[in-house]
């Protein structure tokens, strides 16, 4: 089972995980990590390192989802990319996390990252586009 870490500015990560849990039920081997203002970056790096160990109990790898490419949560996560079995997806959204729940047992972490990147992008929809399709 691929492990999951969501990391973001403020409480966003914990709330996305909480919302996912309320829809899909309990999510094992998944953690949220908040990056607060004024935090020591090396301390956060170590926290993330511990979190990776904790969710990677099976050794199947860990997918880290961050709120924004170029932001601090992403910058710290990216430093783990030299470890095999770690993938980082930036721009987390709820559909992506929900789809993760149903796919984590059947894919390798690399394939899962590719799949969820495409799925997450596809899930961003302007409702008027859908209305247009229904009319036309």
């Amino acid at each position: 089972m691929v492990g999951l870490i969501i990391t973001a500015h403020g409480r966003l990560a914990a709330e996305i995980l909480r919302s996912a849990t309320s829809i899909m039920g309990p999510l094992p081997q998944a953690l949220a990590l908040a990056i607060e203002y004024g935090a020591d970056m090396e301390a956060v790096y170590n926290e993330l390192r511990h979190a990776i160990t904790e969710v990677d109990r099976d050794g199947d790898g860990v997918l880290i989802m961050t709120d924004m490419f170029g932001g601090t949560p992403a910058n710290i996560s990216n430093r783990f990319l030299n470890i095999p079995g770690i993938e980082v997806l930036n721009g987390v959204n709820l559909p992506m996390v929900l789809k993760f729940c149903g796919s984590r047992d059947s894919m390798t972490v690399e394939i899962l990252a590719d799949f969820l990147q495409r799925y997450g992008k596809k899930s961003i929809i302007n409702t008027r586009d859908i209305l247009g399709r229904m009319e036309g």
Binding site: G38, A39, F69, G70, A74, N75
Partner: protein, 162 residues
């Protein structure tokens, strides 16, 4: 064309810099002065990779700074300078990278440091460096993001004031 922002930020390149400061000061060239990242090819590559294509970026050590054509860069570009600590900023300044103002963005709280704002914490060494900047005629101000109120470093009380 000049140094449009010289900033102390322990996070270096991150969301506040890319999304708020760069458009605000209209910077087109980022110089990160940091020995640890400059000597680590992997971290350097990660840092370069998170900068959008329309911006130029250089990550260099304090030593490499002295070999750069700083006057030329200042003439050609709107430079945004990033330092992890005030000490790095002072070393760079003394190595010839001059700037009229120093912006304090993020200096994390650690043992032996006291908070002077939501995002800034200082110890005795930091205080000496900030006072030194003031003595050199560099205006030291605190402003985490452009929408924050600007506060000045007060050399008498070693606090932020208006």
């Amino acid at each position: 064309m000049s140094v449009v922002l010289a900033r102390v930020d322990n996070r270096l390149i991150h969301g506040q810099v890319l999304e708020a400061w760069i458009p605000h000061v209209n910077a087109d060239y980022i110089i990160v002065v940091n020995d640890a990242i400059a000597k680590d090819p992997f971290r350097k590559q990660l840092m370069l990779g998170c900068v959008p294509d329309h911006l130029q970026v250089k990550v260099c050590s304090l030593k490499e700074l002295s070999t750069m054509e700083l006057h030329h860069l200042k003439r050609r570009h709107n430079l945004l300078l990033l330092f992890a600590t005030p000490q790095d900023a002072l070393s760079a300044y003394e190595n010839g990278l001059r700037f009229p103002r120093l912006n304090l963005g993020n200096m994390h709280l650690a043992q032996g440091k006291r908070s002077i704002s939501r995002t800034l914490a200082v110890d005795e060494h930091d205080i000496q460096v900030l006072d030194r900047f003031s003595a050199l005629g560099v205006k030291v101000t605190a402003q985490c993001v452009p929408s924050d109120r600007v506060q000045r470093w007060d050399c008498t009380y070693h606090e932020l004031g208006s």
